[in-house]
Amino acid sequence: MPEISTPQRPAAPPRRPGARLAWIGRGFLALLATLAVIILARNLIQDPPLFIQIVISGLQLGFVYALIALGYTMVYGIVKLINFAHGDVFMVGSFVSFYAVTRFRLHTWPAAVFPGLPGGWVVVIGALTVMLLSMTTCVALAVTIERVAYKPLRDAPRIAALITAIGVSFFLEFFGALNFVFSPRFIPYQRPFEVVTWYLRDGVHRLTPGTAPPDGSITFSNIFLIILAASVLTQVILQFLVRRTKIGKAMRAASFDKPTARLMGINVDQVISFTFAVGAAFAGLGGVLYAIAYPSIWSQLGILPGLKAFVAAVLGGIGSIPGAFVGALIMGQVEALTMGYISTPMRDAVAFTVLIIVLLVRPTGIFGEPEKEKA
């Protein structure tokens, strides 16, 4: 006689009494957020023009970071490599423009070739030429680095590529510090155009150079406008490139699944090189704009902005292009507001704290997609 086993009730799920205590952690974060809001709100009420001025300087910083962060996020999205050398490509970009402007006076070529051209056009075409030269040089450099250093290691463990990236970064920094290259000194940077500053008070007025703006006014310069325009423009171009073109489709395919992309007839190596090239072009542009905005350059210029831009990319969700943009703007604001209201040396500390908190709340960044489980 077969035994009739009574169907067993499914075991009760393990009790997790700690889950009820999630409010402690949330409360802690809420406390920090409240503190930050209180500090900001108090300062906003105390002196609104100063606050807006700080936000503008933060935006300027953030838009430059956005240009660098794009390269990090694209490269990471496609080869999962923290390309530490990217910041140094950025540095090379600013040095190329420095030599072009100071040594070869490249920005004045339209005036020499077309003597009848109005002054405004000369400046615009000249500055654009300098930027294009920097971008091209950076593209050549980045593609060389990719071919020489990273490509042979594509199937090696990831740490090998990472160590190589650190090595390339050190090489560029210290090779640049040699006297016959860029020299180890800080070099004052000559802008390819004049700075024009406006101030906002009952309308927009142009500030005469050498005078202080009236109290309670907000100033902004043409540098800020150029950086803003360049950053937004590259963002739009990149979105178009990635979403609408064939190579963009190939990039997305390669970042999704390289072996399958290869099977579908995509030349993955070429796509990777192209990704490095696009990132380097934006880094070169960023280098020129950074040097124009903060006109003092040296061979280790790229380290900290590069790092911040990478943090911005992580903050926004690495691999996501809008994420890099948003993350960079947040980083710029965090840095500027910390410098303005807490203390200048603590800006990196606060920036990294914000990063860690954001990652704890959203482990893949603001725009990041949740990681796929290993198959």
Partner: protein, 456 residues
């Protein structure tokens, strides 16, 4: 442009001798009999001690410069062993090791600096602080056992509150206590009991130990939430930690209340207490701890997390706890290394703990071989003696720009190594003592695996 070939050859010989010494030390420690081991340790200690002190044809074999390199290499080996535990054995890509090294260095230096100034508050506050901090962490841990499944952020908040309370209590207790013992230091004419040499040696040992524990406790607090992030995110967060620590060092006299650390100008006047005895002792102790940890079931659990987290979880391994354990122990080693470093160099500058320099331990670990303790030690010694010693001097003889050339040449070497041997020089091989013990290495033969034992 003077180029001294004899010096070059002599330096290369020295590097070879040091590496052979490491191999010999590990070999003799791996011998079965206790007596041989003890004799071996004494011999290994004595050989270097003699080379440091015995004048051989006028000058000792290892001059002051070499002695500095030797101590630096010992400190670096401790840091790198810790990083190997975190990254090589546990698979957590950490760039924070340099920050913990700096914390250990500054904490230990502050204790002995104050002590030699007749002020026991450094030792008392740090000692009471790490003990109370450890007690509070254990207490909160016991409390949290009753709340399974607690979100990590909540746990972190509780640990943080406990640690801050412990720190405040330590400061409150340490100051009056130090006033109490102040008379024991005596005056400059009649030194008291506490200013004597032996007391200073004890304080040094305690300072280094407490600095290590301090670094470990900070790594616990930091690692608890941050280790839940994915590998690269963890790496970038720990890089941020190093940068934050460095920022605090630069502002130690303005943001932090430590005027004696002198912020960015650097802390001077740290008593040079590290002798070969201490450096050797700490290194050997760390080697023994590390070896026993790795070849225990705990060590196998740590390594299983590296191999496959999901599989480890399925085997019932508490992945989060083992990640934290490896991180804390690794940081403890870094803190000890920092204490040793601070007391031979006598001068701490925030530039030493810059995050760019912080890539060095990572590079050394990869150089020696991820997951090879012998590789870590050998690579640390080889690295310091070659890069800081030989290359600096040789290039120094060749021109003014030489220091920069050093950093132009070594990335190229790094690139070549990565191309030729990406698993590092030693791969995962171990030397002598650091090899798995016989009992663990023996795999059961087929006849021994019975269905009953296999099913167990």
């Amino acid at each position: 442009m003077e180029f001294d070939l004899g010096f070059l050859l002599f330096s290369v010989l020295k590097i070879a001798a040091v590496l052979a010494w490491i191999y010999g030390l590990l070999w003799v420690l791996g011998q079965g009999s206790r007596a041989v081991k003890a004799a071996g340790i004494v011999l290994a200690f004595a050989v270097i001690q003699l080379a440091l002190s015995l004048p051989l044809g006028g000058a000792p074999l290892f001059n002051d410069f070499d002695q500095g390199l030797l101590f630096q290499a010992c400190a670096m080996a401790m840091v790198v062993l810790g990083l190997n535990l975190i990254y090589g054995f546990n698979g957590q890509f950490s760039l924070g090791q340099w920050g913990f090294y700096g914390i250990g260095a500054y904490a230990a230096a502050d204790v002995t600096y104050r002590w030699t100034g007749g002020d026991a508050s450094g030792l008392l506050v740090l000692g009471i602080g790490v003990l109370l901090g450890g007690a509070s962490i254990l207490g909160v841990n016991l409390l949290l056992r009753r709340f399974a499944g607690m979100p990590v952020l909540s746990a972190f908040t509780l640990y943080l509150i406990g640690s801050i309370a412990a720190g405040a209590a330590a400061v409150a207790l340490g100051a009056p206590l130090s006033h109490l013992v102040a008379p024991l230091f005596g005056t400059s004419d009649t030194p008291g009991v506490l200013s004597s040499g032996p007391a200073l040696q004890v304080v040094y040992a305690l300072a280094v130990l407490f600095a290590g524990i301090f670094a470990a406790e900070i790594s616990f607090l930091f690692g608890l939430p941050v280790l839940t992030l994915g590998s690269d995110y963890f790496g970038i967060a720990t890089l941020g930690f190093t940068i934050v620590v460095n920022t605090l060092m630069i502002n130690s006299d303005t943001i932090l209340p430590f005027p004696e650390m002198k912020g960015g100008r650097g802390m001077i006047g740290i008593p040079k207490l590290t002798t070969w005895f201490w450096a050797f002792l700490f290194l050997v102790l760390i080697l023994i701890v590390m070896r026993n940890l790795i070849h225990s079931s705990t060590g196998r659990a740590i390594m299983s997390v590296r191999e496959d987290e999901t599989a480890a979880k399925v085997m019932g391994i508490d992945v989060a706890a083992y990640k934290l354990l490896a991180f804390v122990v690794g940081s403890f080693f870094a803190g000890i290394g920092g204490g040793v470093y601070a007391h031979f160099i006598g001068f701490l500058s925030p530039g030493t703990f810059d995050f760019l320099v912080g890539f060095n331990p990572l590079i050394i670990v990869v150089f020696g071989g991820l997951g090879s303790m012998s590789g870590s030690v050998a690579a640390s010694f080889g690295w310091i003696f070659f890069l800081e010693g030989l290359l600096r001097v040789i290039l120094g003889q060749m021109g003014t720009e030489a220091p920069t050339w050093r950093f132009v040449l070594y990335p190229i070497a790094l690139l070549l190594l990565m191309l030729v041997r990406p698993q590092g020089l030693l791969g995962r091989t171990e030397w002598g003592f650091l090899r798995a013990p016989e009992t663990a290495r023996r795999t059961p033969s087929a006849s021994e695996i019975t269905p009953a034992s296999a099913g167990r």
